[in-house]
């Protein structure tokens, strides 16, 4: 994961690390031809954050115009969708309208990765390559790491727009989101119940509390799971 942040930081060369720059940095790092990253509340209310080239933009638009394609499927089914060869038979069976358009646009292979933590979904990273062929295991691992980096940034940005910093170390303390921190997931559910809100909001509140009290999110989550900390009324801190 550290290596991924290093790649992103080097890519922005001292500038601000954003979700868009993670998207842009992954293309040369993975040796692909383009990427698009969009965020959404639901599949019909989405926002294209970044597209690295024209073809990426076209692939994105086409999928949402037609309502089908790898990234639509990645979102709805909460799974990564890897299509190493768009010209192969099964792709056209899965997405009869999208595939001819994608081939015409110049894509040979498309890989879609949902930005998600369990039931929390915030968007999809959509990668393409002109030439067909599968991702190597190393490329796949990197693609997942870039997806996780983008997710971390999205959740962080949503927490506080005033917390602007270009320092990656400061922006990204280890928070156990991608690790096996079971209590964080459980506490997210509990806080959602306490606040009667969605999981995404609950996770943001957990992170905000941890940040404000100089604790790790794991420590905070443990307090919630142990029922020593409740998020209730207006002023739970």
């Amino acid at each position: 994961m550290d290596r991924i942040w290093e790649l992103v930081t080097r890519y922005v060369a001292g500038g601000t690390v954003s979700v868009g720059s993670v998207c842009a940095a992954c293309v040369p790092a993975l040796g692909l031809d383009g990427a698009a990253l969009w965020l959404a509340k639901d599949v019909n209310r989405r926002l294209l954050i970044h597209a690295t080239d024209k073809i990426s933009g076209v692939l994105h638009e086409t999928q949402f115009t037609l309502g089908e394609g790898p990234c639509v499927q990645a979102w709805t089914e909460r799974v990564m969708v890897l299509t190493p060869d768009l010209a192969a038979d099964d792709a056209a069976v899965r997405w009869p309208m999208f595939v001819p358009e994608a081939l015409l646009a110049g894509a040979g292979a498309v890989f879609a990765f949902p930005l998600q933590v369990g039931a929390i979904r915030v968007g999809v990273l959509d990668l393409y390559r002109k030439r067909p062929g599968p991702l190597t295991p190393a490329q796949l691992a990197d693609a997942l790491a870039f997806t996780s980096a983008a997710l971390t940034l999205v959740l962080r940005q949503a927490r506080s727009d005033t917390d602007q910093t270009s320092n990656v170390e400061q922006t990204l303390p280890p928070d156990g989101l991608s690790g096996g921190q079971v209590e964080v997931y459980q506490a997210t559910g509990m806080v959602a119940g306490q606040l009667d809100t969605g999981l995404e909001e609950a996770l943001l509140r957990l992170r905000a509390y941890a940040f404000a009290h100089a604790m790790s999110i794991t420590e905070t989550a443990q307090l919630v799971v142990d029922r020593q900390l409740r998020f209730g009324g207006e002023d739970d801190d």
Binding site: V79, P84, Y185, G189
Partner: protein, 244 residues
């Protein structure tokens, strides 16, 4: 019922759940419970690797087994980790014996009440995707028959996680693993929500969620998502009717 009959019944039961649209976490939990019933051990757990090769706990038959598995992952030491790293079975019939190969693990095992541990790799050809771990409260080695059965269970667990298609292609394998782990997270989130709504412990919340899914013939993950989405179809889960 003889042990053989019982075994074939269990394998049929597990095979029956291996339909196209099955629930991987529910399946693995059932499998750990059946292991504990049939292999003359007291508990079982399953660890699974993700794309970054870090191990995660996906199922355990008891709370004690779960805690011991988590301890291993946190302390990065123990027979189940060795099994995963080497891809070979690792057995310790008596953790209290000297010299101690895994001192921290042995102490944690003693606290959880376990004396013997056996770890069997879950393999797909050259790749190790996880480990099936068996725990006993008494010092016990595994005899040849039990070991063979344990391996059969590890294979069934592997097949359960991977579709036949996945076995042919590296990337599909990773998709299935990632999917299994994400499903596990969804269930943890739902457990938290249910624990809060009904004032239950996490384990009670899991049992309730699982019981509800079974009683209503629905998938565990589907029930978990319905709960998270505030779906009206499961209001009787969050607000159970008082027994009249």
């Amino acid at each position: 019922m003889s042990r053989e009959q019982e075994l074939s019944r269990v394998f049929v039961e597990l095979a029956d759940t291996l339909v196209a649209d099955f629930d991987v976490i529910e399946f693995l939990h059932t499998l750990t419970e059946r292991c504990a019933d049939l292999l003359e051990v007291d508990a079982a757990g399953i660890l699974l690797t993700d794309q970054q090769d870090s191990l995660q706990l996906v199922a355990a038959s008891t709370l004690q087994a779960k805690q011991l598995e988590l301890f291993q992952l946190q302390s990065e030491q123990g027979p189940c980790l060795d099994c995963f790293t080497t891809g070979e079975p690792v057995s310790c019939a008596d953790l209290t014996a000297q010299p101690q190969q895994w001192p921290r693990f042995a102490a944690a095992a003693a606290e959880a009440g376990f004396v013997a541990v056996h770890a069997l790799p879950m393999r797909l050809r050259e790749r190790v995707i996880g480990a099936l771990n068996l725990f006993s409260v008494d010092p016990t080695g595994l005899n040849h028959t039990t070991l063979a059965l344990g391996r059969a269970f590890a294979d069934v667990a592997t097949i359960g996680i991977l579709s036949e298609r996945a076995a042919r292609e590296q990337n599909l394998l990773s998709q299935q693993l990632q999917n299994a782990l994400n499903t596990r997270i969804i269930i943890e989130q739902a457990k938290g929500l249910l624990a809060e709504r009904r004032d239950l412990s996490m384990d009670q919340a899991f049992t309730t969620l699982r019981g509800y899914a079974r009683d209503n013939g629905r998938k565990l993950t589907e029930v978990a998502l319905a709960l998270i989405d505030g779906d009206n179809s499961i209001t009787d889960l969050t607000h159970p009717q008082p027994i009249r």
